[in-house]
Symmetry: C2
Subunit: 249 residues, 2 copies
């Protein structure tokens, strides 16, 4: 059995999840904390989702590849790791998974949330966790448009270059828009997302909310596979990896 | 007529509202922004509530005393000031008030919110805006206890030394506890609050939630006027100046 961690983090101050040279990432900080906790030089982990710079997560999964064994009881592990982590990264829970579990290859349902603060001025406590749109958005039109993203499509027109994915076909299980106070939230679930896909879908729905794209025009935009027909890539601050559920877990 | 501003701020990085020597405060940053906007060396402002270090506000009022006149249209003033402010301080709106308006002396109803994250681990996005209590709190008992704070009492036992108030009698108009997800919120309205009064009431209600104080014991604790019978002063991070309504405004 191996150990799978669930992490929550505020991505504001990190260059994304994945370890990279010359930038501080969440995975690097986690690996350093694990190395100190286990008194090991060589810790290896593998994350479930490669969140980008500035993107938040409330349900990132991370498998500890090595050390495979440790003598800390599972229920004590989150607190033990958190003692070595900064306040903007927390291990929320730990569980055991089978030896051949691979967080990137196991089928799963991922849900992302994208939040837009739709008012003239953003109150400071929302500034790190929303994108700002000062022009009034038509929420009803956005709700209608969102429903057209549900299904199995080639989403290549809703992705940025730089993806290493084998196929650009993805299945979206649900795509909903809701509004609470001044915050409009897109919640989208699927079996996986292309590079920047959620941020481009969010930008397309904002353009629908502004009347620049008609809701009924969405299927043709998807079919066109042309990036330039979709809306802009929205800022990282509004995006949160919200929920990850592995099949059979 | 004078100009009254409504401000929202994240108090995390400030030594409170009021200008002081050797520490960065919200009012100081605002005064500097106004001085740059109006090209004046001497800007004077007066705030409606002296929030402490680390305390947040979504409805701080601030009167511009000098310059008394400026040539910026009222509806443009928030954006004009915000251009000179950091992202964690925002002017939300501006209005005109009569010349003898004084934000500290006018009768008003103030509402504070105090938020406690009641779970083993605080997700990072809530870390700056809640206090943390890992032991399970009895919300029903806290709700019962909260109702006993409503009324006109001498709250001296629920205040810290250092207050310059003439009297320690205050009237609490409403005091409610609610829970949403893992966040327990105290919302308390009154005609004014003593130094640290909301944070001590919050700490007393947390002790009720832990079973250390019985809800029915609250009236006797208030009557005793003894600080040591009340609960602890809770951390600043959970406190927010939520709403201020002036009589006749």
């Amino acid at each position: 059995m191996k150990t799978l961690l669930t992490l929550s983090y505020d991505g504001t101050n990190y260059a994304g999840w994945q370890v990279q040279e010359n930038a501080v990432t969440v995975q690097q900080i986690l690996n350093e904390a694990l190395a100190r906790l286990f008194s090991r030089g060589a810790v290896r982990t593998i994350g479930g989702s490669r969140t980008d710079a500035g993107v938040h997560a409330s349900d990132q999964k991370c498998l500890i590849l090595s050390p495979e064994r440790h003598n800390i009881p599972l229920q004590n592990l989150p607190h033990a790791i958190n003692a070595f982590l900064p306040q903007d990264i927390r291990v929320m829970s730990a569980e055991l998974v089978v030896d051949d579990f691979h967080p990137l290859r196991m089928p799963c349902i991922k849900t992302y949330a994208y939040r837009v603060y739709n008012a003239l001025i953003v109150p400071p406590k929302h500034r790190l966790y929303t994108a700002h749109e000062r022009r009034r958005l038509n929420v009803g039109a956005m709700q209608t448009a969102a429903s057209f993203f549900v299904g199995k499509f080639d989403f290549v027109g809703f992705s940025s270059a730089g993806s290493s994915a084998m196929t650009t076909v993805r299945e979206v299980y649900s795509c909903n828009i809701s509004k609470e106070g001044e915050i409009i939230t897109l919640e989208i679930s699927g079996n996986g997302f292309l590079y920047n896909m959620v941020r481009i879908i969010a930008g397309t729905l904002v353009h629908v909310g502004l009347g620049k794209i008609m809701p009924e025009g969405i299927p043709a935009i998807i079919r066109s596979r042309r990036r330039e027909l979709a809306g802009p890539t929205m800022p990282a601050s509004g995006l949160e990896l919200f929920k990850v559920v592995y099949a059979g877990c």
